[in-house]
């Protein structure tokens, strides 16, 4: 090799190294999302496209809330929590109870004032988040701690926990479906340039984005988040540096559970009903989203969730029975190209 070639290679190597980290084929997620966003334009009329996109984004946000908790718990604690769906359901039920309770005393749910509607809605979600966070902490201490380190036993024991939690819902609230109350001003839609834009999905999107930004900021800009990110990569080393990682485990578990709970509350308002088995229905989607996005990655959950939400809605319109198929197809395609999911652990 001549001198000039050596220099060239050395330059490239230096430039590569000074850049912010190697990212294998980082164009893939962007390409995937773009394709999913744009392809349907060819097939659907613009107005319907906008409506579908909004509901797709909303569904995506809800899926993000559920799967991000699962993904983070798996990434940080290396725990497979199959009871996550049950936490989702509990969030919906606590939200339901909180809403009904507050409404009975203040009537904010049925009022016309947007402000009171928003207030009661947020309070119900906060109640759900806190309640399930507590439930999550209890679950982590009692059920998860004994099985750290063995994914197989985590599967076993969390399945048992899921059964218990679901049955507890049936015991406390009864086994039947209940209609979920929706704040008055959230119902309905606006007509913008002949396009029907439902109000509630927009609210879901906004809240979802806010929560994503909160989580993102905590992870990226705070010391706590930094330690969590370090722990996703190497929990042992974090211990060795003097941080009680078990406290962080519990905290992350609580946070992940709270996210799922908020997702549950908003999902219930979206479909306007709650039933005890709703956890089981959503867990599969959450799993698929988490796998597609990459376990342990917040951004991955968001991107994966949006992909699944959007594709589901578009295909449901075009080929009604094929909606589920497209989700599975996405899973197969993404795993074939990148077996670890779109975003590797910890990003």
């Amino acid at each position: 090799m001549g001198v000039t070639e050596c220099n060239y290679i050395a330059m490239r190597e230096f430039r590569r190294r000074v850049a912010v980290g190697p990212k294998p084929r980082s164009w893939l997620p962007k390409l995937a999302v773009t394709v999913i966003f744009l392809l349907p334009i060819l097939l659907i009329s613009p107005k319907t496209y906008i409506t579908l996109t909004i509901s797709g984004l909303a569904m995506g946000m809800l899926l993000f809330l559920v799967s991000s908790g699962f993904s983070l718990i798996f990434g940080f604690l290396s725990v497979l929590n199959l009871a996550h769906g049950a936490l989702f359901a509990w969030g919906a039920y606590i939200g339901f109870t909180a809403f009904s309770f507050i409404d009975k005393w203040t009537g904010w749910g049925g009022s016309n004032l947007i402000f009171s509607n928003i207030l009661i809605f947020l309070l119900a979600l906060v109640a759900a988040g806190i309640g399930v966070a507590i439930l999550g902490v209890v679950t982590e201490r009692l059920v998860i701690r004994p099985v750290y380190g063995s994914h197989l036993f985590q599967i076993f024991i969390t399945v048992g926990a899921m059964t218990v939690m679901e049955e507890l819902i049936r015991i406390i609230w009864g086994p039947n479906d209940e209609p979920m109350p929706v704040p008055l001003s959230f119902i309905g839609s606006w007509d913008i340039f002949d396009v029907v834009v439902s109000k509630y999905p927009l609210i879901v999107i906004v809240i979802g984005l806010i929560l994503y930004l909160i989580v993102y900021t905590i992870l990226r800009r705070t010391r706590l988040g930094m330690i969590v990110r370090a722990g996703v990569e190497n929990p042992e080393m974090v211990q060795v540096m003097g941080h009680n990682i078990y406290r962080y485990f519990t905290g992350v578990f609580a946070a992940g559970s709270a996210l799922a709970a908020i997702g549950g509350g908003m999902w219930a308002t979206f479909v306007k009903s709650i039933h005890p088995a709703m956890g089981g229905e959503v867990i599969v989607f959450a799993l698929v989203v988490a796998i597609i996005g990459g376990l342990g990655s917040m951004t991955g959950s968001m991107v994966g969730a949006l992909m699944v939400g959007l594709s589901y809605n578009y295909v449901a319109y075009l080929v009604p029975k094929g909606a589920l198929g497209i989700t599975m197809l996405l899973l197969v395609i993404i795993l074939s190209i990148r077996p670890t999911g779109l975003f590797p652990e910890g990003t």
């Binding site: 024991i157 015991i171 899973l331 077996p339």
Partner: protein, 366 residues
Amino acid sequence: MSKENLNPVQTFRLREKEDRFRNPYFFLRILLLAFFLVTPFLFRSFEILDVVLKIIIFSALVASYDVILGYTGIVSLGHVLYFGIGCYFVGVFMGKLGWTSYSHLTLAFLMAIVISGILSVLIGLFSLRIRAIFFAMVTLAFMEFTFILSSQLRSITGGEDGISFKLPGILAIDFSYGKFLGIEFTGRLISYYFILILSFILFLLMLRFVHSPVGRVLQSIRDNEQRSIALGYRTYLFQVIASSFASCVAAVTGGCFAMWVRYVSPDSSLSVSIMLDVLLMVIVGGMGTLYGGIFGAAFLMVTRAFLPKLQVLIASLLPGVPFAIRLSERWLFYFGLLFIIIVYFFPKGIVGTAQEIIARRKDEDK
């Protein structure tokens, strides 16, 4: 093959074969088989016969799951998919298509086996190379997907309502041959024996598979995959073989189940709750012991049949408050608690822990 020229491995295996009949467990198993054979004569109640046969069918299913979980070390959460395929082939052939003859029944079984085998090979090729827990989740997702698919394709699968059907000839309910030893030889009875014999054969097949050279390689893969690869085994290939064998067995058990209940629907053959049941049976019975499946299945079926009765009893004792009534009604709740306790205290399953205790006692005696 003279005794002097055998290498150590062959000597060991030869001795193992000879010891087989002196093993005390062997007689226990013969006893169990005898019990299953005479059950219809011991218990005249149909309900008990139903429970016993379900134990038999699910023992075979759980054993097939144990082949991949306990012996090969693959965690699949979608094994019941193949069970469902077996159910549906029988159901669709007999019911929807109205092909009621013995040869059609056989064809249904054969097709179920073939499709299950191919499907598991495809899924294996695709997902066994990704991380183990991914595989678990992907298989779960596939099973859920098929569940929803079968609920939606009404024209083929009868949708959520499912398909009811009749069995041909001597297996049909209304067939009667006359009395023998005090009981009537109905189609039900004949189906019972047919399924019993079929399950027995399946069990023998699985035992043979697990103790064969292939089976031993699988165990070595389970224990230390890196080592097996270093020894030159294409672990991946073996895992796919084990997976397809287990899925074919599961398909046959599915067919048997459909035959017995003469009904197939997504809930009864493809639901996640069946998969959970299998998990439960495996954990109670113990992994890596095919016979544990029998114990686990027995445990689950008996409690399933027995607990609701217990619950009615308790409900009659408690006050009429809705909460209290529901507390007693949801026996599944206590079941879940019991399950968690079992996983916590008996990680090797009841059978596995028992084996361990016995082995430890033997060590102490020495």
